[in-house]
Amino acid sequence: MWERNLQDLVRGLRANKGDQSRFIAEAIDEIRREVRGDDMELKAAAVLKLTYLEMLGYDMSWASFHVVEVMSSPRFHLKSMGYLAATQSFEQDTDVLMLTTNLLKKDITSAKPLDVSVSLNGLSHIVTPDLARDLSRDLVTLLSHSHPSIRKRAVLALYKVVIKYPEALQYGIEKLKERLEDPDPGVVGAVVNILCELARHNAKDFLVFAPPLFHILTTSSNNWMLIKVIKLFGLLTPYEPRLIKKLHPPIVDLISTTPAVSLLYECVHTCIIGGMLQGSSGFSLAQTCVTKLAAFLEDSDQNLKYISLLALAKIVPTHPHLIAEYESRILSSVDDQDISIRMRALDLLSAMVNQNNLQSIVQQLLQHLVKPDSSLNTTQTAAQSLTTAAASTSADRSLTTPSVVSPSSSTAYRTTLANRILSMCAADLYANVSDFQWYVSVLVDLAYVARAPVGAVIRDQLVDIAVRVREVRRYAVQVSMRILEDSAFISGAKEDPKEGCEEVLWAAGWICGEYSSELSDTRRIIPSLLSPDVSQLSSETVSVYIQSAAKIFGTWAAGLTERWDEDDLPELKKVVGSTIDYLRAFSSNPNFEVQERATNIMQLFNFIRADLNAYKPRSRIPEQSNGFADASTSAFDPVGTTDPSFPKSLLLLDPLFTPYTLNPVAPEAQSSVPVPEGLDLDAWIVPEANIALRHEKEKSTEKKKKKDKKGKAKETGLTGERVDRSAARSSKTRTNAFEVGRTQEEVQAEQEEIAKAKARRMEMLKDDPYYIIDDRPKVQPDDVDSIPVVRLDDMPALNSMGSPKATPPLSMTPPPQNLRSASPAIPVSFTINRAGEMPPNAISPKLPSGSLPKQSPLGTPRSSTPSRLVPPSPYPTYEVDEGGVLPRATTPEMIKVTRTKKKKSTTDGSSKKKKPKDTAAVDQVNGNKS
């Protein structure tokens, strides 16, 4: 019989190209037979074949015991095969590893150096925490082996051991230090190598190595070693500032003399970490570095270009002006065909952006997203590019056109690029964006061209900007209208939900609704928000659409009351009618959110329709009046004498949405919510009695499990007793924290009753063989009813605690007239810069003024940046007129983002720190108020 060895297997594989899987299945069967035999040679050959198959993706974990058998062979050629198989196949959780401890111990203490090296190499792969613990002593002994090659391997293996078993370092570190002075350069290199790795985890412990390392730095000429030593110093300097001074001369020397860019890169990196580029001498050093590195940008060798970009990105944060010179070169690197270079250039660019260059950089980056649009209509999916890759042989690879390989077409790259643009601009609360109209258009462009899953980020930024930057709202609304009317997104969402930026529609819908007063053509937008096509969008978007449509209508209708004209009536009726029709379609939407909103708003519109139909113009005969004027409209039809000339239902919707402006929340808002008096946050909401009961129950059930079942009745009885006690205890300590609806006694009695009933039932069921008794400890108390959830409503404190946004339920809003005079809510103000909103202390009734001294009631929500201070108004300011059209600052002045800021500035904000530019706006506020 012929046994097949590895070569035969490979030949077989090559001969059976058509049906490899069957051939491999046969081969594995054969291997299974062979590994069980007694012939060690055969077993080893089988294991080796298996190792080869493992590389091709076949499992060999089942053979791990046989691998250990081969490893334990005394013959070197078999042993090395065994170790090879082990390194390739063993995992941390391979169970046979436990069997290898003695084997490894024997091998690494063997007299034969080759055995030792092969086992050290194997150990480096398969070491587990247990193996590391058991073998670390032997390994440390090997550090002074007579063979340099063994010492070298032992040093490297020690690293792996230390990773798994850090204690080993304690007794190994001294020997390791000795090895730095080893006569063999390879051993020294190995030590430097592992120190470099170890210092990445914990640099402090390795400061003791600094002197010998410094010696190496000044004497060695081996670049490999120098790179590692410099890297190592880069890790050490943060912990030992004195090193910086010491390292300065040799590093400067290296930077100016070395021809190796890799070494230069490491030097630059270490200089930066060590802060050597600070000060006047540092500046010239930085200049030298940048000049040298920038020269590589022009190099034809792409590798050097790559490294220099990498290094420049490190210098940028501290010396941006030095790099600025090379901006054009760096920008051209972003156009490089090589994705690696592009990524590095992107890194560098995002570190370089400032107010001045942001626009040009972003425009250039956008080009990348746009370009393939023209040449290549669809993005390459992974599968497509895989087939392209498989199809292109080595011969034509050099000929492939850039458009095929162009990295711009890969989704991952596009995603990265789009995200980079977004984060670049949004960094530090849009610090670098000076023109928000431009940025809004960038965001929208991105949504069109990105074809990457960045829609959610774009959506959030659009909404964020619209909320924070008042001046850009009109523009944002205009743009949003365009988006809403563009069917490209809807169809795009249908085609490829992953790559389209459908979420942008969410933002557009929301912005149009929230800032509907900025809309130029209200009637046009409602149909596009509610058209049946919309139902293809995600339900979140549709929900927002419905809400927005109501807001828009509300604003429009409220505006009509301003200049009421009887001629508007038919049109109004038409709009209401069509809106109801649209909404009806949504009221049977499968998504409950959409359904609920549609139904709610449809109902409101029904009111309006009824009112409109009942409306009788003063001067004219009613055009039509049918039976719709029923009880529902009577609410809007008071018998009063001061009847306005317009249908009163026109003012139905607007106040539902407009009385409170949405403001950004200050980061510290949550933490500065004052705790209302009388609210004890540490008090139990659910009286402790129940909790205690639960615990006791758990305990007793657990006990039950262990105990004989006969003890059950007694146990449950005991539980009852305990309930009594704990309830009594809690009633003593806790009752006063709550206004408890029922008395503790009642609760207690009920609990006892339940416990008793349960005990009776358990007793009854105990002997029933068909009933599986649930012995597990119950997390949920079975007397859910007794948890007085209702009491929450009675707690006065919780209401006033509110959310930071503190939007009281809208259902409570009084009719418009009342609202305007009595609302305690956050008013719309006209400050240009609004800081994040702070908790409305005004609502919290008895705020101890000492706790948050810097907050004045009602003024707080209007905090602002120090540069553009607005005097805090002691009273709520309203400028929403009947018409609901927001007066705007007349000059479209410089757009600034509002920054969420500390409340401090508000209170002392009456000091006139603001720029003159703002006065106009502020005046307007005051004017409006009066």
Partner: protein, 193 residues
């Protein structure tokens, strides 16, 4: 540290895979992904593969600074997956060192040498890298160690199988190998090429 050494040919068939970090579950997809990315890169591009896709695949295991350094020799790609502790250009040199060592021990190494001497390639790699750390970078020292170990394996094999006719460096022939088998193997090898 070096996390993986991969060799595959221009059609993506692996010729050697060595993982120094447990990535086994992901090994095949990783191989496919790297092959797909590397094989589409023209020779004029740099030898560092910096793909966002890989970061997603490896980031959780290796950390932020995943670098794939590769070199293309004739029909083979030599790919090293490393992290921030290694110098990119240094690794590029190391690949060169590794290939030179292969060349020395196989004399004009070609893809078939790697296929049929799978174990030897591993033994040579073990003289260059141990457990993800660079063991030696001097080609002469490596070659010497490789020869030593290979000679020891041969001696050990011969002493275990005194009647074996198999030649070559190492224990890859079984007891029953005959010259005939060797000859057909050669023919098959050529035919398949």
């Amino acid at each position: 540290m070096i996390h993986a050494v991969l060799i595959f040919n221009t059609s993506g068939v692996p010729r050697l895979t060595k993982f120094y970090t447990p990535l086994r579950a992901e090994s095949q997809p990783l191989l496919q992904k790297i092959f797909q990315l590397v094989s589409t890169r023209p020779a004029s591009l740099c030898n560092f593969l910096d793909a966002p896709e890989l970061q997603n695949l490896l980031g959780s295991k290796i950390g932020d600074e995943v670098r794939v350094v590769y070199r293309n020799y004739a029909t083979l790609y030599f790919v090293f997956v490393v992290d921030g502790a290694e110098s990119e250009l240094g690794i590029l040199d190391l690949i060169q060192v590794f290939v030179e060592c292969l060349d020395r021990s196989f004399e004009n190494v070609c893809e078939l040498d790697l296929v049929f001497h799978f174990d030897d390639v591993h033994h040579i790699l073990a003289q260059v890298i141990q457990g993800g750390l660079v063991l030696e970078t001097n080609v002469d020292v490596i070659a010497q160690a490789v020869d030593e170990a290979s000679l020891a394996r041969k001696t050990s094999f011969l002493s275990a199988n005194p009647l074996a006719l198999g030649t070559g460096s190492g224990p890859r022939s079984s007891t029953l190998q005959t010259p005939l088998n060797w000859l057909t193997g050669k023919l098959g090898g050529i035919g398949a090429r």
